[in-house]
């Protein structure tokens, strides 16, 4: 189909966000805004030690405090376990990071609960702790779990299928290295474990009730984007006797992380199970920073072989992933990360062996970029050394090596996929042109301009993820006699406008006014299964389910209308609540008449498809002050091809979101700082955890191409997740070029720049070459 000729009523048009006014005027009801009768407030007592056994715990004084309804410790908490492997207890006798949960309190007010938590007396047997990922692997290192010798987690996530991807092995690495014109052996870490930091901290309200016949029912009001997935997670924790209902309202951001909320949710559930009253648990910003979820730490130690023409002949070595105190999804992130590396860098010979290690710090888990950002931010600086030696322009390198139709990659389920998406070369050219790459790129370690102590440099990065068609989505679309439609989808709006887009898609298929389409709350009691907006699957996977449901409903409507119009189903068309015969538009009937005392329900299901990838390229121009070490982001250009824009403002918002939430700024100042001796997270506050404010935004230009994705009804694919992922390594590249010395540690803080400048001055004095990494 020639999509250029195709016109849409809503797709690609700017339409107001339905929840917009409510959100900006404070009318939207977030979890903390909900009213409950008889509500109790839950608080968590947290560990002062990074690693300790609870020898004795006395909650007597806390329990006696007026207004306290429950105190739970490892002794009386339900034995709920989660994680991969499933060895992580809700409350354990052992604490594994400073800030780990020790006890829970439910009280009539937050203040009383807080006060009671301070009355709990705990005797600890303090154990030696380990904070460094390499140290944790050494023989004799403190061991976090009896079940995990050497602190190493078992590879693979069973959720991904029988043969989950646990490493990248392909071809013959030795042979590949022999074919190379240059080999670099290098180490690089993307290990500053930034926090995605959604505005709304983790929280939940839970109500446990008896459902009769020895069964229990628990209802949970959550702040995350995927209520149905949360239901599956919670059901697996509570067991089959408990009916779980999850309700997701507006969510103040997630960036992936909020689906790691099983622990705060289960805190509320456990307290409600004890008290049989609704219990609310709201993490403070400090808890959010110090005791929730961080990006995994990534350290790469590899050999890369490259030819003069930019062909990568071999990539081999070790990838160490630090997951902190435990893993929920780290193995899955490693699997996706491995696949994403293969998408970004064509290479016949691979041998990259991941190892996931536990240490005594807060856990790592889902953060947008999901393994791929972690791997690539460490890989690209090493590839850069090779490119520099062979004088290869990184834009040419990316263009040459990003996956193209006819090629393929291993994906998370361990299977090979032949790529059947689009060629992104044209988009890459366009991005480079808009950025002015050719004029600004002066070669490796060469500044674009020097003026006094100010030096500018440019860098580029790329990211692609075959998650646009991952996992299953289902939706219903109900048609009503009044000409309206209702979309049933288990989405909770987490800021991206996904619910709006679902409405748009249904309205487009049914050709009815947007105002005539409603969408259910993300309530598992109402809607069919929806995996949730993860990665960039919103457009390709979620919308496809909605589209199919709307198409099926439309077809059922025509089946009812056809006999009334004396016509075949295939001859009918509809718009604005009227059905007519295409050949004779005078023959028409209103939905109202067809649907008299009747509703129609269409069901749509999306089955996973891993043969497609999105792509984003980020160009940055940095300014470095060689006297103070200050680095500034002067300009960002993002280039992508989304097939077809669904919602222009939503897309712009996603692309402009490339800086924060552990994105580009994780190369500039976002990092989590753990005290080397106490294991305490030192910057667990919004002053010392540096994140960009809106006063500090550089100019961002977005180049968006629309080359149709043929397999989608609207020829569209999502890109939202990956907008943070291409930029961090580009920052390192740009800063290195500006200074004239390799900077390969995230983030590029003034002390590192000044050190590099001094090294460079020394080098000029000694007239030496740089030694390889």
């Amino acid at each position: 189909m020639n999509t250029m000729a195709q016109t849409y009523r809503y797709i690609g048009k700017a339409t107001p966000r339905r929840d917009g006014v409510r959100v900006v005027t404070g009318g939207a009801l977030f979890v903390d805004d909900l009213d409950f009768d008889n509500l109790l407030y839950g608080k968590v007592l947290r560990s002062p030690h990074p690693h300790a056994i609870i020898k004795k715990i006395d909650s007597g004084r806390a329990q006696r405090l007026d207004g306290i309804k429950a105190v739970l410790t490892w002794k009386n908490i339900p034995d709920w376990k989660f994680g991969n492997p499933r060895i992580f207890r809700l409350l354990d006798r052992k604490v594994r990071y400073t800030g780990d949960a020790v006890a829970l309190v439910a009280g009539e007010s937050a203040e009383i609960a807080d006060e009671a938590s301070r009355l709990i007396e705990v005797d600890y047997e303090v154990l030696p702790a380990v904070f460094d990922d390499y140290e944790a692997l050494r023989p004799g290192a403190p061991r976090l779990y009896d079940e995990l010798p050497g602190n190493v987690l078992p590879p693979g996530d069973p959720f991904l299928g029988p043969t989950p991807l646990t490493q990248i092995v392909a071809g013959d690495v030795e042979k590949g290295l022999l074919e190379a014109d240059f080999i670099v052996e290098g180490k690089c870490g993307y290990d500053n474990i930034p926090n995605p930091m959604p505005i709304e901290s983790p929280r939940a309200v839970a109500l446990w009730e008896e459902a009769g016949a020895g069964r229990d029912r628990v209802t949970v009001w959550v702040s995350n984007q995927a209520p149905y997935l949360m239901k599956l997670i919670l059901s697996s924790i509570f067991g089959g006797r408990v009916e779980v209902r999850v309700i997701g309202g507006p969510c103040g951001g997630s960036f992936g992380s909020k689906i790691m909320s099983w622990r705060p949710i289960c805190f509320a559930v456990a307290l409600s199970k004890t008290t049989r009253r609704p219990v609310k648990v709201v993490y403070s910003k400090e808890e959010h920073l110090a005791a929730f979820v961080l990006r995994p730490a990534s350290r790469l130690d590899i050999k890369v072989g490259m030819k003069r023409d930019g062909t990568v002949t071999a990539i081999a070595g070790d990838w160490l992933i630090g997951t902190g105190s435990h893993s929920q999804t780290t193995q899955a992130q490693v699997a996706v990360g491995c696949g994403e590396a293969m998408i970004a860098v064509r290479c016949k010979n691979w041998n990259v062996k991941p190892t996931i290690v536990c240490t005594n710090r807060a856990p790592s888990g889902i953060v947008r970029g999901f393994g791929g950002q972690e791997l690539k931010c460490a890989l690209f600086p090493i590839l850069s050394r090779c490119m520099a030696e062979l004088e290869i322009d990184p834009v040419d390198f990316i263009k040459k090596n990003f996956v193209k139709p006819g090629e393929g990659y291993l994906w998370r389920d361990g299977r090979w996929y032949d790529y059947r998406g689009i060629d992104f070369s044209q988009m890459m050219d366009k991005g480079a042109e808009v950025f002015g790459w050719k004029g600004k790129w002066k070669g490796w370690l060469k500044p674009t301009a020097v003026e006094g102590s100010k030096r500018t440099g440019v860098g580029v990065g790329v990211h692609g993820n075959a998650d646009i068609g991952e996992d299953v989505s289902e939706a219903y679309v109900r048609l009503d006699g009044d000409g309206r439609a209702l979309v049933y989808s288990c989405l909770a709006e987490h800021g991206t406008g996904q619910k709006n887009n679902a409405v748009k898609a249904a309205a487009e298929v049914l050709q009815i006014p947007l105002e005539s389409v409603s969408i259910t709350p993300g309530d598992t009691m109402i809607t069919p299964f929806e995996f949730g907006p993860f990665g960039s699957r919103g457009t390709y996977a979620i919308l496809t389910a909605v589209i199919k449901a709307a198409e099926e409903a439309r077809k059922k409507l025509f089946e009812l209308a056809a006999p009334l119009l004396g016509s075949d189903v295939s001859d009918l068309d509809t718009a604005d609540g009227v059905i007519w015969v295409k050949a004779n538009p005078e023959k028409r009937i209103r939905w109202q008449r067809v649907l008299f005392q009747r509703t129609i329900l269409g069901h749509g299901r999306f089955e996973p498809d891993y043969s497609l990838s999105n792509c984003l390229m980020t160009f940055v121009e940095m300014e470095v002050d060689a006297d103070t070490g200050k680095i500034g982001l002067l300009r960002v250009v993002n280039a992508t091809d989304v097939g077809r824009i669904i919602d222009p403002q939503g897309l712009r918002g996603q692309l402009n979101g490339c800086l924060g939430t552990a994105g580009i700024d994780s190369a500039i100042f976002e990092e989590t700082i753990v005290d080397p001796s106490t294991g305490r997270m030192l910057n667990a506050n919004m002053i010392d955890y540096k994140w960009r404010t809106s006063c500090d935004l550089p100019p961002i230009e977005n180049v968006v191409l629309e080359t149709p994705f043929p397999t989608h009804r609207f020829h569209a694919a999502g890109v939202g997740e990956i907008t943070t992922s291409a930029g961090p390594s580009a920052v390192l590249m740009a800063a290195s070029n500006a200074v004239g010395v390799w900077l390969d540690s995230y983030p590029v803080t003034p002390d590192k720049v000044l050190k590099a400048v001094r090294n460079q001055e020394l080098r000029i004095k000694k007239n030496e070459d740089i030694s390889p990494l």
Partner: protein
């Protein structure tokens, strides 16, 4: 947040008598931008039972000038300092420093007295109690200074002993450069303390029964060329990694007197006397500025992770000296 009694004071005497009676169980609250954070995180060894609101005391919010001095009431808002035309004209460094603090919302409630009296930002000192308990350190009267062996990237490089936290106040740096003085009152009487002497190694000079009433700056400062530079990791809402205030008196193009104060490198605003001496008697030019910058932090003893602050301080001193003194082209 743990509860406390809250009392609106209606006069200085009112506030002082409460302080006198409750001593360290009471805390004064002006804008509250610092105090509330301390309370929420339960940082203080002694959580106050009583908060005395001094915003309700009339007559402490003023900027007045006479032939002798500039006088600023302790409750004057930073936003008012930032936008005062008379300050911009004659005491520009004060407005610049006020503008450099936090963001507009905070400047609208934060006061100059509070800015000078705010507690340190050391992340060990400020560690939130509800994440595994308060960190008892030397500044709290028990324990070591955790920064010495810990992550000390933002800590003092000079002049620290038992505690390596740095003075976080931007106004203090400028006021020290302008020879500013604080009037401190208690029921025992009134005393004057130079801003440069207000900050001690473990606490400021304020006794439990005292409050700051006024800040004044001698009129002589107006003839000086004033500069304030602040280096932060992000532009708005950040504390200085290093800041520098310069006040230079030129007589016939030659520097006849100079104050060079470096902020965020020491427990108080650090007066770089060696740098001042380099400048006095010389024309201000690139060579003099470079030499002054080199001398500015001579004798500094950085910790493991904060030597870079010395480089930044040098660069800032040089820039500050040259900024408003560049020869007219």
């Amino acid at each position: 947040m743990k509860t406390f009694l809250h009392y609106d004071a209606h006069s200085i005497e009112d506030a002082l008598s409460l302080l006198c009676r409750h001593r360290d169980r009471a805390r004064l609250n002006a804008g509250g931008t610092d105090l509330l954070g301390l309370l929420k995180d339960m940082v203080l060894p002694r959580y106050p039972d009583l908060i005395v609101n001094i915003k309700t005391i009339p007559g402490l919010d003023y900027i007045e000038e006479d032939s002798e001095r500039l006088r600023i009431g302790a409750l004057t808002k930073l936003a008012d300092l930032a936008r005062s035309p008379s300050l911009s004209k004659s005491y520009s460094a004060i407005s610049e420093a006020a503008r450099a603090v936090a963001g507009p919302q905070i400047r609208n409630i934060a006061t100059i007295g509070g800015n000078l009296c705010q507690d340190v930002r050391c992340w060990y000192y400020r560690y939130p109690a509800h994440i595994g308990g308060r960190m008892d350190c030397a500044r709290k009267g028990q324990g070591p200074c955790f920064a010495v062996k810990g992550d000390n990237r933002y800590h003092a490089v000079i002049g620290a002993g038992k505690c390596f936290a740095v003075c976080p106040s931007d106004l203090a740096v400028v006021l020290a450069a302008l020879d500013g003085c604080m009037t401190i009152v208690s029921r025992r009487g009134e005393r004057r303390v130079a801003v440069g002497d207000f900050f001690g190694p473990l606490a400021n000079a304020l006794e439990a029964d005292e409050m700051v009433k006024e800040i004044d700056v001698p009129r002589t400062s107006t003839s000086r060329i004033q500069t304030f530079l602040k280096f932060t990791l992000r532009e708005p809402i950040d504390f200085a990694i290093v800041s520098v205030a310069c006040a230079i008196e030129l007589t016939e193009k030659v520097c006849s007197d100079a104050r060079i104060i470096i902020g965020a490198v020491a427990p108080g605003p650090f007066r770089a006397r060696q740098a001042e001496e380099v400048l006095i008697g010389r024309e201000i030019n690139e060579a003099a500025a470079t030499q002054a910058a080199q001398a500015a932090l001579e004798g500094a003893k950085p910790l493991a992770k904060n030597a870079y602050k010395i480089d930044i301080a040098k660069a800032l001193v040089k820039r500050a000296v040259l900024k408003n003194n560049s020869p007219v082209v």
